[in-house]
């Protein structure tokens, strides 16, 4: 496992102390830390090549455009697809909204159904509620099985021919459960429905070949995979991107603008209204380069190992309940738990005194919290820079929390 330990030197923030203790950052599911090469790539861009893209005949504009498009093609390679299938958005949330509005407003009507799972992040839930309201299409939920995985035992009962869209996550940011991609794609396609994969927690943590997944659309966020804030990606099958109306209008996304009517630029540009997040695209490109150098197989193996260790050590803590699969082949490195009657928020505050950053709350998945019948959970989540010893620090801090709350 520790063969990735040397990477820590690339992450300036990991040298920080929190409350007098070394930072133990276990909140990568919320956002990841950034290695120096990502910061350097953006600085180099601003210091030497900054200009607006696709707009000018001058040298800087050409340099900026080249770097921006080059970043797109590197991100495309990273998920094993063509450049034209990657549109840059503000993030995963923005990308799902593009799909929900762009497809939904133009293809959905009353009587149609949209299927999501109860474990979705609000990003893959609230846009569908909105589109349901605007179009009259009905929202239907998939429940979970006893391993916290989307239940596929009775799919035909839910996914019938009224269903037009099936939207689900590649990995739950709460339970860590992997989405049953194949089963859902098969069920959706057998009734002619399109599939939307929320890849925000999948793409950062495993080798992904977008074209091979079978889904129609996929989204992900740079900041969850070593990249900067402010950028994410929308991926689609070529014909799906063609049929998707752009959500936002503005510069860059047009072909011809007349007073009363406009036509759109070819994909992917029609989804990129206005000045795009240029420096962020370049930083995103540097992030996938970095991940590529490490190798996504190595990243996944490291996370599997540290997650297995965490599940083992956490199960030694009395009164601790884990919400998520125990089998590391069915899950990623987001581990949600509760500890006795200590509220997760209190837990987070207590372990923070030992430098440990975990997240507490509903994790933007309130319907899942209701399903689990908990108001909130605590969550530790791991990435390539985490160490086995950091799990030990977490467990030590949890034992201290038990003391503070008089649990012995």
């Amino acid at each position: 496992m520790s063969e990735l330990g040397h990477l820590r030197a690339d992450f300036p923030i990991l040298r920080r102390e929190i409350n007098g203790a070394p930072l133990v950052y276990l909140d990568s599911a919320a956002t990841t830390q950034k290695p120096q090469p990502v910061l350097d790539a953006m600085d180099e861009y601003y210091a030497n090549h900054n200009a607006n893209v696709h707009r000018g005949a001058h040298t800087l504009a050409a340099e900026a455009t080249e770097r921006y498009e080059d970043a797109r093609s590197r991100i495309a390679s990273f998920v094993d697809t063509a450049s034209a299938q990657i549109a840059f958005t503000r993030g995963a949330t923005a990308a799902i909204n593009v799909i929900a509005y762009g497809w939904g407003l133009n293809h959905l009507r009353e009587g149609d159904r949209i299927v999501v799972s109860v474990s979705e992040h609000h990003a893959n839930l609230v846009p569908w509620q909105m589109i349901s309201r605007y179009t009259g299409a009905e929202l239907i939920y998939l429940e979970l099985d006893d391993e916290f995985i989307i239940d596929t035992s009775n799919l035909e009962a839910v996914i019938d021919d009224r269903v037009r869209i099936v939207a689900f996550g590649g990995m739950s940011n709460v339970t860590g459960a992997l989405g049953p991609v194949d089963a859902l794609v098969d069920a959706a396609h057998s009734v002619g429905a399109i599939t939307v994969l929320d890849g925000a927690q999948l793409v950062p943590h495993a080798p992904v070949s977008a074209d091979d997944l079978g889904v129609d659309y996929m989204v992900f966020s740079a900041h969850k995979m070593l990249g900067p804030t402010g950028i994410g990606a929308l991926w689609g099958k070529p014909e799906r991107l063609e049929e998707l109306e752009p959500l936002e209008g503005g510069g860059e996304m047009i072909n011809i603008v007349e007073r009363y009517h406009s036509t759109w630029a070819p994909v992917p540009h029609k989804f990129e209204a206005g000045t795009p997040p240029i420096a962020e695209a370049i930083g995103f490109g540097a992030a996938v380069d970095y991940l590529g150098r490490v190798g996504m197989e190595a990243v996944a193996a490291h996370e599997r190992e540290i997650t297995a260790y965490a599940l083992e050590r956490l199960s030694e803590v009395p009164d601790l309940t884990i919400y998520g699969p125990k089998d590391v082949t069915k899950r990623g490195g987001a581990v949600s738990f509760s500890l006795g009657d200590i509220h997760p928020h209190d837990l987070a505050t207590i372990v923070d005194q030992d430098g440990v950053a975990i997240r507490a709350g509903h994790h933007c998945a309130r319907p899942l919290m209701q399903y689990l019948q908990v108001p909130a959970t605590a969550r530790a989540s791991f990435y390539l820079y985490n160490l086995r010893e950091e799990v030990d620090v977490l467990v030590g801090a949890l034992m201290k929390a038990r003391k503070v709350f008089g649990l012995g």
Partner: protein, 150 residues
């Protein structure tokens, strides 16, 4: 006392585990709800105000020890008091949660100045992100009293 022990004093854990006046009121009463979307803390309040006096109250909610203990201690502190006194208490509580170390939140010259158990919440000031937990019940109370039309 460590900062943690100051935050999680005995009395706070007691109120968290044994919240006072948990439940709902029947009959005529005011009702207000509040929540902190970022952490999920929820608090709801039933309140009876008669002739300018809070004669009965009940709380519901879920959340961290600080939000729930603050609510429970607030129940103890407000029932039987006049709305004037309670508003004074609200002000004092606000002052306590915002002042810097060293200042004295408790002005002995004001009537009803003693915050009592509530003083245990002083430790929260060292944890700025938790202040909104302590405030939740009080913001809900403010809403409820606003309905009283004063």
């Amino acid at each position: 006392m460590s900062q943690l022990d100051e935050l999680y004093r005995e009395v706070i854990l007691d109120h968290y585990r044994n919240p006072r006046r948990r439940g709902t009121l029947s009959g005529n009463h005011l009702h207000a709800e509040g929540n902190n979307p970022s952490c999920g803390d929820e608090f709801a309040l039933d309140l009876v105000v008669e002739n300018g006096v809070i004669t009965d109250a009940a709380m519901q909610g879920q959340g961290c020890s600080i939000s729930q203990a603050s609510g429970s201690m607030m129940m103890d502190a407000i029932v039987g008091r006049s709305v004037d006194e309670v508003e004074d208490l609200m002000r004092k509580f606000k002052v306590m949660m915002t002042i810097e170390d060293g200042d004295d939140p408790l002005d002995p010259d004001r009537p009803g100045s003693v915050l009592g158990d509530l003083e245990a919440l002083q430790g929260v000031r060292k944890f700025p992100v938790r202040i909104k937990c302590a405030d939740l019940a009080w913001a809900t109370l403010e809403d409820a009293l606003a309905q009283a039309g004063r």
